[in-house]
């Protein structure tokens, strides 16, 4: 079995970091389903599978690119729903995100010049 490098970031992981950044920018809570919807452009039929989504989120949290907190149970109780696990981008996550964006921009400028 081919093992990937410990510090490599998969496209789904980058997409998740990007989704957390976008949701935070709009001051919306970032949790499992909201992140899946953000990645799938709100297409409820095409949400990321449970396993892929939560495995990627676990790996990002473990690597310190995201941090998670459980929502206050009282808030969840008031809204009559299970409590959410909320994700935030850490400084390391923000650095990875901007590095990925810069690399995309430089690749696109390279294409434009050639």
């Amino acid at each position: 079995m081919v093992r990937r490098k410990q510090d490599s970031v998969l496209p789904i992981e980058l997409a998740l970091v990007e989704a957390v950044v976008r949701l935070s920018g709009r001051e919306e809570p970032a949790y499992g389903v909201s992140l899946a919807r953000e990645i799938a452009n709100d297409d409820l039929g095409g949400l990321t599978s449970h396993g892929t989504l939560y495995k990627a989120l676990a790996r990002l949290t473990e690597r310190g690119l995201l941090e998670s907190t459980w929502e206050d149970p009282e808030t969840a109780e008031l809204e009559k729903r299970p409590r959410r696990r909320l994700y935030r981008v850490t400084a390391a996550g923000a650095a990875v995100h901007s590095a990925a964006r810069n690399s995309v921009h430089s690749t696109m400028s390279g294409w434009a010049l050639s």
Binding site: G32, L44, G45, G51, K55, R81, R83, R85
Partner: protein
């Protein structure tokens, strides 16, 4: 009707989550179960707002679950490895070394058994190989070799190590017995050595004692190793299947 299907699907997803999180560290299992509970609720709420039918929602949830089964299993394996590594770190160095030695010895002996089985199967299948061996003996060697390979896989995984070593113990008896009985067709040198030994220790009983004894000796070693590993391996507080959130 649609609502019933949808509820059944959600029950099935909860069952799957309980299944793949059982045996993990309690806090890890509880967090995943809670996160999935929230996911199912939020997915349904979003689907209701988007005026999706119950069937469409159920289908989407099934696809999300089925599509992620591989990732769920890989995540579980990783969590088990993490928990084992953490538990091993808490052990005194001497005990950790002993566990490593017993595991390595079992692994090496298991690999040797597999090698012996593969060699025997090849030699017996080769043209000019033995013709007088009963087909059941060949099948026994083949089945025992496959069982050894599967057991080795279990030995590699820390969470199933004891079961794997016990599996090797069970497979070692028919494998050794089959190889000893078919030694004529497997190895000429081995066969002549056995004949020479029988010159010193004649009798049918000796032959059967050798056939069975070789396998039993190896099995006894594996049983001892499994018992020792069970007693000395670190234990992690794990969740059970029944634990609901």
């Amino acid at each position: 009707m649609g609502a019933l299907v949808s509820r059944r699907v959600e029950d099935l997803v909860r069952w799957w989550v309980r299944l793949y999180t059982q045996g993990l560290a309690s806090h890890v299992a509880v967090e995943r179960r809670e996160e999935m509970r929230s996911d199912l609720f939020e997915h349904r709420a979003a689907a209701n707002s988007a005026e999706m039918t119950e069937r469409q929602t159920a289908r989407a949830i099934v696809w999300r679950t089925v599509g992620g089964i591989g990732a769920d299993i890989l995540w579980r394996e990783r969590e088990l490895r993490h928990a084992h590594r953490a538990a091993m770190l808490s052990l005194p160095p001497g005990r950790k070394r002993s566990i490593d030695r017993v595991t390595s010895t079992s692994l090496v002996l298991g690999v040797l058994l597999v090698g012996l089985g593969v060699l025997a199967v090849f030699r017996l299948e080769m043209p000019g190989g033995t013709n007088h061996m009963a087909p059941t003996n060949r099948e026994a060697i083949l089945v025992a070799t496959v069982a050894c390979i599967i057991s080795l896989f279990f030995v590699i995984r820390p969470s199933s190590r004891v079961a794997g070593v016990l599996g090797l113990a069970i497979a070692a008896v028919p494998l050794s017995f089959g190889v000893m009985r078919g030694l004529d067709g497997i190895s000429a040198r081995g066969s002549s050595l056995l004949s020479r030994l029988l010159n010193y220790l004649p009798g049918e009983m000796t032959l059967w004692a050798l056939y069975l004894g070789s396998g039993l000796l190896v099995a006894l070693f594996f049983c001892g190793s499994a018992f020792w590993l069970r007693r000395h391996s670190p234990r992690v507080a794990t969740s059970t299947f029944e634990h609901r959130v």
